[in-house]
Amino acid sequence: MVALLYLIAATLFILGLKGMTRVKTARFGNLTASSGMLLAIIATLIHIGKADYTLIVSGVVIGALIGTIAALKVEMTAMPEMVAIFNGFGGGASALVALSEIWFNIIENNSQLPAFKTTGTLWAATIILSILIGTVTFSGSVVAFLKLRGSIKGDPILLPGRHFINVALVLATILLGIYALFEVTVLTTLTTLALTISLTSLILGILLVIPIGGADMPVVISLLNSYSGLAAASTGFVLMNPILIISGALVGASGLILTQIMCKAMNRSLSNVLFGGFGAEVSEGVREYSNVKSFTPEEAALILESASKVIFVPGYGMAVAQAQHAVKELAELLESRGAKVLFAIHPVAGRMPGHMNVLLAEADVPYDKLIELDQANAEMVDTDVAIVVGANDVVNPAATKDSSSPIAGMPVIEVWNAATVMVIKRSLSPGFAGIKNELFEHDNTYMLFMDAKTALQEIIKELKS
């Protein structure tokens, strides 16, 4: 009975994910997946049968309350940190279950030691992985959360010898774990070691995410998402529970694919993102600008008045300035004047995969007006005005023209092919890559040195008057 319900739940997860491959069916897909979860919980309660439910009920009530409040209150601009911290809770739960297993089966049970003789080799091996991956997911996500919130500096923080420290921590965790479960015959030593490997994993998670900053966040969040799945899967091996293995593997795979897409969009390898400390060693190139022209909102409005095709290129700056509603208002105003308006979305614009799409959806921009990189570059050629809202590196011509540039080969949105380019940006300060953007010097580029929201609102006012 329980096994059958788990099978149905797993099927619902797969169907739910399949539903999420299309916008039309995505909401139903999410509902399908959540009913799969409900079924899995019911099956588990049947399996538990008669027991003391005090802890279960109070835990679920507390968790559900926190989860509901957080999910309903979060601003769409804060979605990256919300996803990050939810991830962390998932990974943390897997690690806690693994630790609970050690206490329940070995320590509180006064079992025969070394532990693997009581519980089997697979159990002992995967429980170490559960603790390692789960805890790394937890502490890494907490650091990502704090970075995205701005509670700790978003810039890469590089410790000397950090690669050596990280490798040492991974090895120490695994070797101590193996020693604890396969060799140790004294109970107190086992307890101490279980706590020690939790601590080393916790530190490892912090050290892995601390050096990664800003624009590399989409990769980190995707990767942590994948880890949370793998942690669940390895806990599944510990408990020999197929529903955990299946769901964990699905999530692990989805996170890996997203990670891969994000890396490709930056033309960088995963190891370069994770270990490169990109943007930390500030490249000392020329950053002086000459021949930069700027527009006032009135001048911008004048150009837009006669434009028949306009493409917006949003970036992280739009999220920071909460300018998505102003973007939408301007877009509608231009459309009402007969212009064709599109939105070009770079895969790594923002701080997580799909960040811009969610913000524009919140502002009621129909999703069929959002175009991807290739289409955007094809459309750009006969575009009158390209409006860059708080994006920098993803519109840098150096990526296509300068093979010595740190971002060489990264696919970018070629806004310079439009007749006129307007860049709304507070200053000429470099983007995450720390390099100069020659786009700002192009003959057809005009800067609006303002907060994105204010600039757009003033353009709207001018157009209306």
Partner: protein
């Protein structure tokens, strides 16, 4: 009884590998517009570890294993409930041209 090739450990490894392939097949088809909801939805699914947490907490009492299970239940429930709700909230905003 002879169980042939169905060694439980190997079967669980089969399940793991095949599920990864299923995941790859499905997710590569997801359009970039849905990347964020996909992520938070998948995230909620990874809260499946709640199943293990419930069993761990069912020991009851004040044993350390039960307390760890209790914390795991809280964590996993936040992940599941918050994850599915926030995904639904996001997806409710995606609209086509009227």
């Amino acid at each position: 009884m002879e169980s042939g090739f169905f060694d439980p450990i190997m079967v669980s490894i089969y399940i793991f590998l095949l599920s990864i392939f299923v995941g790859f097949e499905i997710i590569t088809k997801i359009p970039p517009t849905l990347h964020t909801p996909l992520m938070s939805g998948a995230n909620a699914i990874s809260g499946i570890t709640l199943v293990g947490s419930l069993v761990a907490a069912s020991v009851g009492g004040t044993k350390i294993s039960a307390i760890l299970g209790f914390c795991a239940v809280i964590f996993a429930t936040i992940n599941v409930v918050g994850g599915f709700l926030v995904t639904d909230r996001m997806l409710s905003m995606f609209k086509k041209k009227k």
